[in-house]
């Protein structure tokens, strides 16, 4: 079994994180406290190194362009896009977790190792159309996340959150599996694009079993993007998990799930035309539900993390609207949106670390007046919130803009109006965070706590947040470069959709 250099090059981005993931636990042998500190540093360093290396090779790949698929792997531009997306998210997460876990007093190498595992899984998940690899990828990135949610055992919530996430997730993935099996059953091949072709050839495109299979597959994806009504794990899991992990889940999981959905439904299942139409129909319905429910519930949250969780649900709604529009431009918009969303949400969750909020102290009350204490962070917070609300000229606006434009272009004016109304509602709860940060003086009790706690020291998280802010701003002012140079090419040369 020997691989050509190009194939190696295509594999490297996956290999580095995998290697790191396997190496890191081995370092945890030494038990001496003095060295333990250094060891942790080395662990995080290794993880970061692995991620950076992977990023490096991914950019190399991007320069060379799409790779011929081998094994069940398709290292096309879409996969590379995903890789870069996930890797960046992971890097930010690692930076933040160093500070966060120190604040929580729970620094473990395993966490980063698990993170790397799920990074590998995500890359696989989004870079194949072969169901086996798809399923394995799914499990490879889900299982570590289940564990990560519950990783801070000191908190009683963590295990509960992990349990909920795991149980619902397991049900979802067995549905996903069953769906795949059904499709395999009638097509006789486990490669979904091949399956689509054969089904088309045998005229089984609309066979009930195929449709059922497709529906179950879709369920799997929708669960991961936490669309209503598969969303309920989201707030609990986010609240339970450490801030950086929550950020990573909200961004990377959603992202890869959407990209995989993109690859499978508009991509592989393109031959089965009617199926795509039904997908859009059901996604439209669920998107509306997601927008309404996500935004309205976010409105009444007192805990910032839960608010962000519901906001991430509602953002899933916007992205789903992109699928409803279903034009290549819309998909470009979806990818663009994802990139900005990565920056916004990683930043938003990073803020919690940067402000040194630990445990359950993540309510709006705890944030009061912090914006003036840490002006840079405050500025970043303003950028994130306004961008999440879709206020120009920030990146978030352009994501919405592209998607709405396609919606209107394809005649879904009603949905577009609903979308803007939803973002009006969302503006309120995003402003709430700014109100807390800037417009309110810290409560006496908060002051007392602050005086008790040591001064917040989160250089890495702060840096990560600033990077995110820079990305959001860049998204606002270099939108065309990001869209045309990155997202659009990923769609064109990955999905093979012609603009």
């Amino acid at each position: 079994m020997n691989l050509t250099p190009s194939q190696w090059a295509a594999l490297l981005p996956l290999l580095f994180p995998a290697l790191g993931a396997c190496l890191i636990p081995l370092m945890a042998l030494d038990k001496d406290q003095a060295t333990a500190k250094w060891i942790r540093g080395v662990m995080y360093g290794t993880a970061l190194l692995a991620v950076v290396a992977s990023f490096w090779y991914l950019t190399d790949l991007w320069r060379t362009g799409a790779q011929p698929s081998f094994f069940q792997l398709r290292m096309d531009r879409l996969a590379q896009f995903t890789g870069i997306f996930v890797v960046v998210a992971a890097a930010l997460t690692i930076l933040q977790s160093w500070d966060h876990f120190h604040q929580e007093g729970w620094v473990k190498g395993e966490t980063v190792s698990l993170l790397l595992f799920s990074v590998v899984g995500m890359m696989l998940f989004a870079s194949t159309t072969h169901f086996v690899t798809l399923f394995l990828g799914l499990e490879l990135f889900s299982l570590p996340l289940y564990a990560l949610v519950g990783t801070v055992r000191a908190r009683s919530e963590s295990a509960e959150g992990g349990m909920k996430y795991f149980l619902t997730g397991a049900v979802a993935s067995s549905c996903f599996l069953m769906g795949g099996v059904l499709i395999y059953g009638l097509s006789g091949t486990l490669d979904l694009s091949a399956a689509a072709v054969t089904l088309k050839a045998q005229g089984l495109a609309l066979d009930p079993l195929v449709l059922a299979g497709a529906a179950l597959l879709l369920l799997g994806f929708l669960f991961k993007v936490s669309a209503v009504p598969f969303h309920q794990w989201t707030p609990d899991a986010y609240e339970a998990s450490p801030h950086p992990i929550a950020g990573f889940m909200s961004v990377a999981t959603k992202g890869v799930a959407f990209i995989a959905l993109l690859r499978v439904f508009p991509g592989s299942f393109a031959p089965l035309g009617a199926l795509g139409a039904r997908m859009q129909a059901v996604v439209a319905v669920l998107a509306v539900a997601t927008l309404v429910l996500g935004n309205l519930t976010a409105l009444v949250q007192s805990n910032v993390k839960r608010m962000l969780a519901y906001s991430s649900i509602s953002h899933a709604g916007y992205l789903m609207l992109g699928f409803v529009a279903g034009t290549p431009a819309a998909y470009t918009g979806v990818l663009f949106y994802l990139v900005i969303y990565l920056a916004m949400n990683m930043g938003a969750f990073g803020l919690l670390t940067a402000f040194g909020l630990v445990g359950e102290h993540t309510t709006f009350e705890d944030l009061r007046g912090l914006g003036w204490k840490r002006p840079a962070m405050g500025f970043a917070a303003a950028v994130f919130m306004l961008s999440l609300a879709g206020i120009p000229p920030l990146g978030g606006f352009y994501g919405k803009y592209m998607i709405f434009r396609e919606l209107v272009g394809t005649g879904h004016v009603g949905l577009a109006i609903l979308g803007v109304l939803a973002s009006l509602v969302s503006a309120y709860y995003y402003l709430r965070l700014l109100v807390a940060l800037f417009l309110q003086a810290p409560s006496a009790e908060a002051e007392r706590l602050a005086s008790d706690r040591p001064a917040v020291h989160a250089p890495l998280a702060g840096a990560a947040v600033l990077v995110c802010a820079a990305m959001v701003l860049a998204g606002g002012f270099l939108q065309y470069a990001l869209s045309d140079g990155f997202a659009k090419r990923a769609i064109e040369e990955g999905l093979g959709l012609i603009h």
Binding site: F71, K108, E110, L136, P144, T151, G162, D207, L209
Partner: protein, 164 residues
């Protein structure tokens, strides 16, 4: 023959669903696994059957029962408050799903032809074929599966090991 194994499988599952005592429920599940293994035999797939018994009944069930013992929570605890809506909604939904499933199977033309075609096909699977498939076509998958196991292990350790 098929009916027997099918019944064993389903009744086992049903027992697990209804049985109050957790241990008994676990044993019912073992029965189900055996039933499934039997079905595999009928499907002329002894290897699968063997694996089914070894892995599931052997590994997983033992693990589960071990945990049950460890947590010494043999009886299901009393419900905080009964959830009729949850129950009846679920039951109705499941009934619908079951009927739907049968209807689905009946309705699917592709399935019928496949059944007709496949019935007289000989079982051509050999371990050698499987091996090549595993290590040639699915090498990647194999590696990944390894990763999954490793990840799960690390995860389990991270979640449970007392002082890490």
């Amino acid at each position: 023959m098929f009916i027997t194994f099918a019944l064993i499988t389903l009744l086992g599952a049903l027992g697990m669903l209804l049985q109050k005592n957790v241990i008994v429920a676990g044993l019912c599940m073992v029965a189900t696994f055996f039933g499934v293994a039997g079905l595999f035999v009928l499907l002329a797939n002894p290897v699968a059957a063997a694996l089914q018994i070894i892995v599931y009944s052997g590994a997983i069930m033992v693990l589960v029962l071990f945990v049950i013992m460890m947590l010494n929570s043999h009886q299901e605890e009393e419900a905080v408050v009964s959830r009729p809506i949850q129950r009846w909604l679920s039951v109705a939904l499941l009934a619908a799903l079951v009927l739907g499933a049968v209807k689905l199977v009946m309705a699917s033309g592709g399935l019928k032809t496949l059944a007709a075609k496949g019935a007289e096909m000989p079982q051509a699977m050999t371990l050698q074929k499987v091996g090549t498939a595993l290590f040639a076509d699915h090498l990647l998958g194999f590696e990944v599966a390894g990763l999954v196991l490793l990840a799960a292990m690390i995860g389990a350790v991270a979640l449970t090991k007392r002082n890490l």
